[in-house]
């Protein structure tokens, strides 16, 4: 910009600069539709390719004749899966397992969130139970089943109890990490604005912790899902077909195709929920401007 232009009246000069600044912020909007299609394809093709490669290797092993009588090929397994999907039993099992997953995970989020919130703000409490939470996190949750079965018997409560013990520590630790890593500059800004105690927590520390909290949720979900499937294998409740029960039945009947089909269902359900967390995480990063432009 030529200097003599800036020599004019101050407001005109200022407005010109403001206008220039505004131009920088405008985003190109026209090619958004095409970009979406390209992005979807970019995200999709590696996954499709990976699945194809897995199926091909599986088929090759099957064709090689290794453990020929018991090791099923992908064709037989997938048609078995298709057959099971057309009966009500598998859907019933999926419904029951999903219900337990939702209830158990929700309990874990509430309890883990509460514990995390208290521990992150109260010094002595952190000193007392901070390392205990991390210890619980590393503990294989399946080890809790004998304890829980003696305590609650063969019941849904037993399964939920172990899910909560498996997932809540990760949720709590995620929140604690988020609180610890709240940028000090933002804390100073918040305090200067007059945010104190509860309002500081609600309007600043909690939202600032959100990314770490979501990471904790994601990890907590992984532990919850593992605990749940392990629990269903160990705790079969009469009249309540679950994915674990179906898997266990297939084992009893040496139905390898059926067992493999259920494993695929468990895998897909786990992936779908993980993708939902991924979407949530990406939405936050986009809102905050943390996405790389690479």
């Amino acid at each position: 910009m030529a200097l003599n232009e800036g020599r004019g009246s101050v407001p005109a000069y200022a407005e010109k600069l403001a206008w220039l600044e505004a131009q920088e912020v405008e985003m190109p909007d026209d090619q958004r539709g095409r970009r979406l299609a390209v992005r979807a394809w970019t995200a999709l093709w590696p996954k499709v390719l990976a699945i194809a490669i897995v199926l091909a290797i599986w088929e090759l092993i099957h064709l090689s004749g290794w453990k020929k009588l018991i090791f099923p090929g992908p064709g037989g397994t997938l048609s078995d899966l298709w057959g099971q999907l057309r009966t009500g039993l598998l859907w019933h099992a999926i419904a029951i397992t999903s219900e337990r997953a939702v209830i158990g995970f929700a309990l874990a989020v509430v309890i883990g969130g509460l514990v995390g919130a208290l521990v992150s703000r109260i010094g002595p409490l952190r000193a007392a139970v901070g390392s205990l939470i991390t210890g619980l996190q590393t503990m294989p949750s399946i080890a809790w089943f004998p304890f829980a079965i003696i305590l609650f018997g063969i019941s849904t409560t037993t399964i939920l109890f172990v899910i909560v013990l498996g997932a809540a520590p990760s949720v709590a630790n995620g929140l604690i990490a988020g609180v610890d890593y709240t940028p000090p500059l933002l804390l100073r800004a918040g305090k200067m604005m007059g945010l104190r105690r509860l309002s500081l927590y609600r309007h600043l520390i909690l939202p600032a912790s959100l990314p770490a909290f979501v990471a904790g949720l994601k990890q907590g979900w992984a532990f919850a899902w593992r605990s749940l499937v392990a629990g269903e294998l160990l705790v079969a409740i009469a009249g309540q077909p679950s994915l674990g029960v179906l898997l266990s039945n297939d084992q009893d009947q040496a139905d390898m195709q059926g067992a493999t089909a259920i494993i695929i269902v468990i895998l897909i359900l786990g992936i779908i929920v993980d993708m939902l967390f991924g979407l949530g995480d990406r939405a936050i990063r986009r809102r905050w401007g943390l996405t790389g432009t690479v």
Binding site: A18, E24, V25, L185, M192, M193, G194
Partner: protein, 269 residues
């Protein structure tokens, strides 16, 4: 440099103060010292600083890095306590940082709204005040943008609006334009002049840019480095509107720079 500039004698009169009447905020520092750490590793950041900022004055604090400028503002803001001496502030205090320090999970309007909410304003009043403040900093159409969607200068203007939203009597500014390019900074100087003109603000503005201090301030206080001490002060009897590249501003800035150089060469002896 031009020591003989007769039009710029220090009179002790603060001609520009009269442009703000009815201001209530003021700051008084009496023999304030601040020491960080203990024993052998103790660092004396501020040494016996006495300084008075009367209501309505725009005071610029200037000094090389390590003169404890930010420490000084933290003490005035109440974010830290002095080791000795007394800091007294009348009126509400707001603080603006070199970084905008906006909350990334809120929009520009949301950031301003939160400051109003912290003061306990109701929803309807908040919405109206937020719109007004965005207009004040010429960001009327940008309320729904998130901080990362704005340019550096715009973010700092949102930060200014947020500071104004706190309805403070004393506005502390810690090198608020230090991270901006010269053109944007120039624009923001005009904005700040305009915004201050209609308000009863007392301002303490920290910078290491001598011309910026002269461009903005009614008075420039010069601090020494390690430990920070008040070594001199200059009234700025230059008419508003000022321009950073005008002759009177450059002349006074030159004299202040000379004074700073002198001090720094003392320091190395």
């Amino acid at each position: 440099m031009a020591r003989q500039g007769s039009s710029l004698t220090i009179t002790g009169q603060r001609s520009a103060v009269e442009r703000v009447t009815g201001a209530v905020g003021s700051v008084r520092l009496a023999s304030v010292s601040k020491v960080f750490g203990r024993g052998g590793s103790a660092v004396r950041a501020l040494d016996q600083i006495s300084l008075e900022v009367p209501p309505g004055e725009f005071t610029c604090l200037i000094g090389a890095s390590g003169c404890g400028k930010s420490t000084l503002l933290n003490l005035v803001a109440g974010l830290d306590q002095p080791t000795s001496g007394e800091v007294s502030v009348s009126g509400r205090v707001a603080l603006m940082f070199q970084e905008p320090a906006l909350f990334p999970w809120l929009t520009a309007a949301g950031n301003i709204d939160l400051a109003l909410r912290a003061r306990g304003l109701g929803r309807v009043e908040r919405r109206q005040r937020t719109a007004e403040l965005l207009d004040t900093v010429r960001l009327g159409g940008f309320g729904a943008k998130r901080p990362h969607e704005l340019s550096g200068g715009m973010r700092q203007r949102v930060a200014l609006a947020r500071a104004l939203a706190q309805d403070a009597d004393v506005l502390l500014m810690d090198e608020p334009f230090g991270a901006l390019d010269a053109m944007t900074r120039d624009l923001l100087h005009d904005e700040l002049d305009r915004v201050c003109a209609g308000r009863r603000l007392t301002i303490m503005f920290v910078t290491h840019n001598v011309r910026e201090a002269v461009r903005l301030g009614d008075r420039v206080v010069v601090l020494s480095s390690r430990p920070g001490r008040v070594i001199d002060e200059f009234a700025v009897p230059i008419e508003h509107p000022r321009r950073i590249d005008s002759a009177p501003v450059a002349e006074l800035a030159g004299r202040i720079t000379d004074r700073l150089r002198e001090e720094m060469s003392h320091g190395t002896q």
